[in-house]
Amino acid sequence: MSQDPKIGVFICECSGEIGSKIRCADLASFAARLEGVKEVQTHPSYCMPLGLEEIKKAVAAQGLDRAVIAGCSPRTHEALFMKALSEANLNPYMLEVVNVRDHAAAVTPSVENATRKACAMLKVSAARAAKLVPLENAGVKPDRRVLVIGTGLAGLSAAKELVARGFKVLAAEKTEAPGGMLRRHYTMLPGPQSTEEFLKELLDDLNKNPDVEFMFGTEVISLIGETGAYEVTVRDRSGEKKISAGAVVVATGAEELLPQGLFGFNGEDVITQTMFESRLKRGLDLVVRSIAMIQCAGGRSEQVPYCSRICCMTALKNALWIKEQRPSLTVSIIFRDIYIGGPIQERDIRTAAENGIRFFRYEKDNPPVVQREPEGGVVPTLRIVVDDILTNTKKELECNLVVLSNPLVPARDSRKLSAILGLPVDRHGFMIDQHVRVKPTNFLEKGIFVCGNAHFPLSPYECRIHAYGTASRIANLLLRDELQGSALYSEVDQAKCIACGQCEIICPYSAIRVIQDEKGKKARSSAVNCLGCGTCAAGCPMQAISMRHFTDEQISSQIAAAAN
């Protein structure tokens, strides 16, 4: 660098979070003595509009060419400060955020030590800041095709909304027919709406549209590239093929947990809600005169600790439906807690009580027991013994059919798929947002979205809202002329490269390859496909590869500053 760096150090008090645990004045005077530091400022909270203004003003007034912000985590606030720097006509990569709040103030009990640690951290950051170089993003022209994985309700709804916005949709389905869970259900929430008719209408609509292409029996194998320009490898019966897409929607849904070994589940007279719905579709056996539904059959247990949300609504819907068709039938709902909300659900539960559906409540430690009457043609054949805590009595119910409301669990392949797509999953295996509070429907990759049950069990209504939301997010992203790619990608020094191919072996994304062309046989890296891990840079025996923003020089300066 021809010029000496002009570093501005901005110490954030984080509204007292840092200010009360670190002596900011000491930190500021320490910072002022560091090499290359031209300006030191302190502010109660730099992440607020006023604080950001202060940074911009200081950059302009002092002619700073890089900034160190001692505040909170770069994982949450780097983007905000980068934006502020670019507004101050400074390259956004001339920024170093050092997390003195979480790494010094919060974890060190004495003010003395916390200040000492913050000083040391600031020194490391200032050393790195001095070595920063301005970087430009790799521009990407977005591909206006969207790959939708899974064609259940969420996938189809998203596809419908996307084609309405003028995108081309490729819908990959693992099985041989679209519909997913819709095919197994008879009526749909809210209220009794025929699933078959709904699905037919939706599919007719999509099949007529030339912008939708269905691919059945297709599995996703790998994904490379970045937002706006993904290359996805899929496999179907005819073999593997590559497709390109600007964004990917994961709508692979969930599957039910079969309540094996619970309440005498046998698939004949003790069945699940889904099995019950397919029976309703066929027409319920006239012998059945009494039905009991047991809630939380497998859900909210050690194995499935969460509430699957939709089982109460489904049970209520089915109970009301059957009661309406055959009023003489006895329907009992045996529940632990009824978790429903919303105006329709509230109405349903009142209607149920008015129509004579009986409710019993059991406790987790004392679940109802399903007993089978001895052989001999006794009808009804099942007896349920439940300790009802609503009336505090032991009740015995006789019935022909027990319906278990079992929870939804992540689809069997969801972990495999999440690994392929690089999406994090929670401890149950559902794919999760980047941050529940700050960034809902944002996933790790900007161009990959998860909607429907793959994210968490949703009612059909919520599922469609989620799908439409996803479609609108994709429109926001892909309707631009150019997307800003990442500036973090590896570069190969062609003079040093000996084309050994180590980098090609190391890179899991095929972003760096040894290519023979007119300039000779050299490793070339692709800015678009590179995710910026830098593993190739560390693995190059000739040190020919440099990882932008994490160069050897920058890291060495940090090591030196940390140790001395």
């Binding site: 790494h103 103030a105 090609e504 190391i506 899991p508 994490f550 890291i555 940090q558």
Partner: protein, 178 residues
């Protein structure tokens, strides 16, 4: 050794090590004095950088990244671990306790694991003592040995790199995959 505060440098991957450190802060856990270098992936860390840290006077170096199989970049942490194991071998060779270099693979939300690792490693280095003194090496001798080691990584010839790779079962599987 009483009153000795070890200099510990931690290379943290952005997605797990650094995230867990952040969480530890949000939960106000007490942590020992360690300084960090944030990298996108532990795979970025060069063997020569690990040695450089010792050369600059660090008493202990940690690599903290995603759990095995959960690496944000698929295999970066395997590369990091393999490289660290080379460096450990080399450290033993030049008479430095290889325990001064430690790898840990934790979950992004596992702040307790981070605390445990930081405390255990810090206590371990404290029990080892200051680099060089504890290993019975004079400063000059220590530096010259470490410098020799750095040079050895920087100029790694390709056939040596290949020999190193082919010696591990992991590299075999990598090569097969391609």
């Amino acid at each position: 050794m009483k009153g000795f505060e070890p200099k510990i440098l931690a290379f943290l991957c952005n997605w797990a090590g650094y995230a867990a450190y952040d969480f530890a802060g949000t939960k106000h856990l007490q942590l020992p004095f360690i300084l960090e270098v944030r990298v996108m992936c532990t795979g970025r860390v060069d063997p020569s950088q690990l040695i450089e840290a010792f050369l600059n006077g660090c008493d202990g170096v940690m690599l903290v990244g995603c759990r095995k199989g959960e690496c944000r970049y698929e295999s970066g942490n395997y590369h990091a671990e393999m490289r660290a194991s080379w460096v450990r071998k080399a450290l033993r060779h030049i008479g430095i306790n290889p325990g001064r270099l430690h790898c840990e693979w934790i979950g992004a939300d596992d702040e307790q694991a981070f605390k445990r690792v930081a405390e255990e490693f810090s206590a371990k280095i404290e029990s080892f003592g200051r680099l060089g003194d504890a290993d019975g090496l004079e400063k000059v001798e220590l530096d010259s040995r470490l410098k020799a080691l750095t040079g050895c990584w920087a100029g790694t010839s390709i056939c040596r790199a290949e020999r190193m790779f082919s010696g591990t079962r992991y590299a075999g599987s990598l090569l097969k995959r391609k």
